[in-house]
């Protein structure tokens, strides 16, 4: 590599291997690490001092709000070095894939909104000051001057700040339908137009203050809406970005860590025990057991050997495997699931949000009323100026600002509460859809259970066998061994003295007790009759084998959550790809009557569709790849943060932290916020019922318009804050 010699960083030249890794690992020369444990000013100083002391680092800057550090480097440096440096001073660091943090786009949009909000706020305050003078009795030349100054401030400010509404209204009109922004834009333009015309003729009424404050209130609603969604979205993105997938590739007899994206078909990948398989491929060397639960829901580990096909996402348990890559990226088994998701998506009827429904009623209504009053006054008085004035007064006074605030104010309050509970609402209409739920469908493995086996009970046998089992189990990192070891330690079992203990990958552990062979592992290997549950078997020399049966451990709070749902929401179903017996056991423990086992991904989606055909509104909670189609098909879907990326993308809500009882009351909160939204619409309509007749009679003054607008906006916002 020619460029190595001109590198500014001596440390890189010292390690060519690091350089090679880094060229794969780094895009550009800025690295983002997540530091979940930083919390104080000392943390900032420690982290920055440590990183800035490294010769490769040009600049390190901690963002405490996002709990991240951005490192700018002089040259390509493997990220592991930063992680190690931070671990030295006691901070856990996780790499974030910067390409997945589409933060800048959202930040830009939010900055633009905030700028417009500031401009309209500034203009509103100045215009209101001038209007106050007019309302308190300024007349003649003074009033005209105030109107002209108001116009000079309000017209450019409104045209600049109102752009989001104008563009949205224009798009809607071109698609030949009406949204909330059409009457808003029309009201703003008509108000500005007639006010300019009136001012020119030194008329009494000008609505510059109404136009600009309308823009300001609506922008406030827009900004709240944007902020809520961007918080949830960036947290969800962070989850995806944390999964920077690396693979160990064997090239020219050297193992190199590379980004999974750079793998090509035919590469040889090393999959260590305890690691997930990064791509689809065939095993060319080694034997082991793999956990396929994330794809199939089946928790029993499967024995794999040379020539067995592995899929991306599966977990290698015991022995190292060499895998030849057969498919990468879009071609992997993930893609087949993606097709299923697309089918489910097309079947999902398009949900119309409450705001859209209101807009459909409201927009034509307002236009008709305004047009009617124009026609009536024109016929009655034959005065174009008076009729135009009244028509625009009707448009302004129908007060779309309360309607514009009705939904975002409530969703902001509700999402804020849910965010504190660790729930990220990704979709704008998720809360509304949650409120309608009457049936909840759970996936079993990884959702109700945490995917970790747990010993059912200690077999009734002598202490020596248990001691030998404890010693054998402690020699392996296989999940069943770990669970067995834990259960035996808790029961106070000591370890027996064994010699020559070794793990046979894919089969089990063996050793010698006083010269006699003892084995712990798969049924066929120890020579036992396999039972129909997840189990491991112990054989002492020629004695009868002993069976240790396992069940899946429930997630914390699962029981409480199901109780709550059955009381507050409705039916609970369990839908799993696991064996009949395992699912039945869990269903019995949780007192759930409806369950289905051995379901394929298609079957799960079909099950949900069948429930929906009965008129149910289904909430699906799942985490596996096999759930993605079902998650998409359901009315609303929730997945835990531990779920596969594909499942999280398919779901509307993601919950952080492992506890299921965080979900208690979510549907209740959603229902409550729906009630608040409806109340808000009622309040806004109430104002209209009073104000519109006044406006149509031609009695509305700019003062009444301003009063109605501010009062209804404030009431609506205060009502939204009542969401508990």
């Amino acid at each position: 590599m020619a460029h190595v010699s001109i590198s500014a960083c001596p440390a890189c030249n010292a390690s060519p291997l690091a350089e090679r890794i880094a060229s794969d690992a780094l895009v550009g020369d800025s690295v983002v690490l997540m530091l979940p444990t930083i919390h104080c000013s000392a943390c900032i100083v420690n982290v920055e001092r440590k990183l800035n002391a490294m010769t490769e680092v040009k600049d390190a800057r901690v963002n405490l709000t996002l709990k991240r550090v951005t490192i700018t480097t002089n040259c390509s440096v493997p990220i592991e070095r930063f992680v190690a440096a931070l671990a030295e001073i006691g901070y856990a660091a996780h790499e974030l894939d910067p390409s997945l943090l589409a933060q800048s786009e959202m930040e830009k949009a939010s900055r633009h909104l905030l700028t417009r909000l500031a401009v309209s706020g500034f203009a509103m305050m100045n215009v209101m000051l001038l209007s106050a003078a007019v309302w308190s009795g300024a007349d003649g030349v003074t009033r005209d001057m105030f109107h002209w100054i108001s116009a000079m401030i309000a017209v450019p400010a409104t045209i600049y700040a109102g752009q989001p509404f104008f563009t949205s209204a224009w798009t809607a009109l071109r698609a030949r339908h009406l949204n909330m922004d059409v009457p808003i834009s029309l009201a703003i333009f008509l108000a500005l137009g007639t006010s300019l015309y009136e001012t020119n003729l030194s008329g009494e009424h000008a609505y510059f203050d109404a136009a600009i404050s309308l823009t300001f209130f609506l922008l406030a609603g827009r900004y709240l809406d944007h902020k809520t969604r961007s918080v949830a979205r960036s947290a969800a993105q962070e989850l995806s970005a944390m999964e920077v997938s690396r693979a160990i590739v064997r090239r020219d007899d050297a193992d190199v860590t590379v980004n999974v994206k750079s793998l090509v078909v035919g590469d040889i990948v090393v999959v260590r025990p305890g690691a997930r398989v990064p791509v689809d491929g065939d095993i060319i060397d080694g034997s082991s057991e793999v956990d396929r639960s994330i794809l199939t829901g089946e928790i029993r580990p499967e024995f794999v050997d040379v020539e067995v096909k592995l899929h991306a996402g599966e977990l290698n348990l015991t022995g190292p495997l060499l895998v030849r890559v057969t498919a990468v990226g879009r071609d992997t088994s993930l893609h087949q699931i993606a097709e299923l998701v697309a089918i489910a998506e097309s079947g999902r009827s398009k949900y119309t949000s409450i705001a859209d429904k209101a807009a459909r009623l409201y927009a034509p209504g307002v236009h008709i009323l305004s047009a009617l009053s124009f026609v009536f006054w024109y016929v009655y008085s034959a005065d174009l100026r008076v009729s135009l004035n009244i028509a625009s007064a009707v448009l302004i006074i129908t007060c779309p600002c309360a309607l514009g605030l009705a939904v975002p104010a409530v969703t902001t309050a509700a999402s804020g509460r849910l965010y504190k509970k660790g729930l990220l609402i990704k979709s704008a209409t998720a809360l509304e859809r949650l409120a309608q739920i009457d049936t909840v469908v759970f996936d079993k493995t990884g959702t109700l259970t945490n995917g970790m086996p747990q010993l059912v009970e200690l077999p009734k046998t002598d202490a020596l066998s248990l001691q030998i089992a404890a010693s054998l189990a402690s020699a392996s990192m296989h999940p069943l061994s770990v669970a067995l070891s834990k259960a035996l330690t808790e029961s106070g079992t000591n370890m027996a003295n064994l010699t020559g203990v070794e793990e046979i990958p894919g089969y089990g552990v063996q050793g010698y007790f006083g010269g006699r062979l003892v084995k712990l592992g798969r049924a066929e290997w120890v020579g036992a009759d396999a039972i129909d549950e997840t189990a491991t078997y112990l054989r002492l020399w020629e004695m009868e084998p002993i069976t240790f049966a396992f069940q899946d451990a429930l997630r914390d709070g699962a029981f409480e959550l199901l109780k709550d749902i059955q009381h507050q929401v409705g039916d609970v179903h369990i839908l799993s790809g696991d064996s009949e017996q395992a699912v039945a056991a869990i269903a019995a423990r949780l007192q759930v009557i409806n369950y289905a086992a051995n379901e394929k991904p298609q079957g799960k989606a079909a099950y949900i569709a069948a429930l929906q055909a009965q008129g149910k509104n289904v909430l699906m909670i799942g985490d596996g790849l096999n759930d993605t189609a079902a998650l998409t098909a359901a009315n609303v879907s929730i997945s835990p943060a531990s779920a596969l990326d594909a499942a999280r993308v398919a779901s509307d809500v993601v919950f952080l932290g492992g506890r299921l009882d965080n979900l208690i009351g979510v549907v209740g909160l959603a229902r409550q916020s729906q009630r608040r939204i409806k109340e808000n619409f009622r309040i806004a309509s109430f104002y209209n019922v009073i104000a519109v007749p006044i406006a149509m009679l031609g009695l509305a003054t700019p003062f009444i318009a301003a009063l109605a607008m501010s009062l209804s906006s404030i009431t609506v916002t205060l009502n939204a804050l009542r969401v508990r």
């Binding site: 000013s41 920055e48 600049d59 901690v62 405490l64 709000t65 900055r111 100045n126 003074t142 401030i153």
Partner: protein
């Protein structure tokens, strides 16, 4: 009422100063890390970025 000739421009100018002040803080990304900035003031560390080469 002649005083309006001075007062109105002055009031608009003062409001404008506030507006541009806000836009300046927005442009210079002063709202990106409110929590960190509140804590940084407590440390003695030299905090003038980027560090000169």
């Amino acid at each position: 009422m002649d005083v309006l000739v001075y007062l109105i421009p002055i009031s608009i100018f003062l409001g404008g100063v506030g507006l541009f002040g806000f836009l300046y803080t927005l442009r210079t990304k002063q709202y990106d890390d409110p929590e960190g900035d509140a804590r940084r003031i407590l440390s003695d560390e030299w905090d003038d970025h980027p560090k000169p080469d």
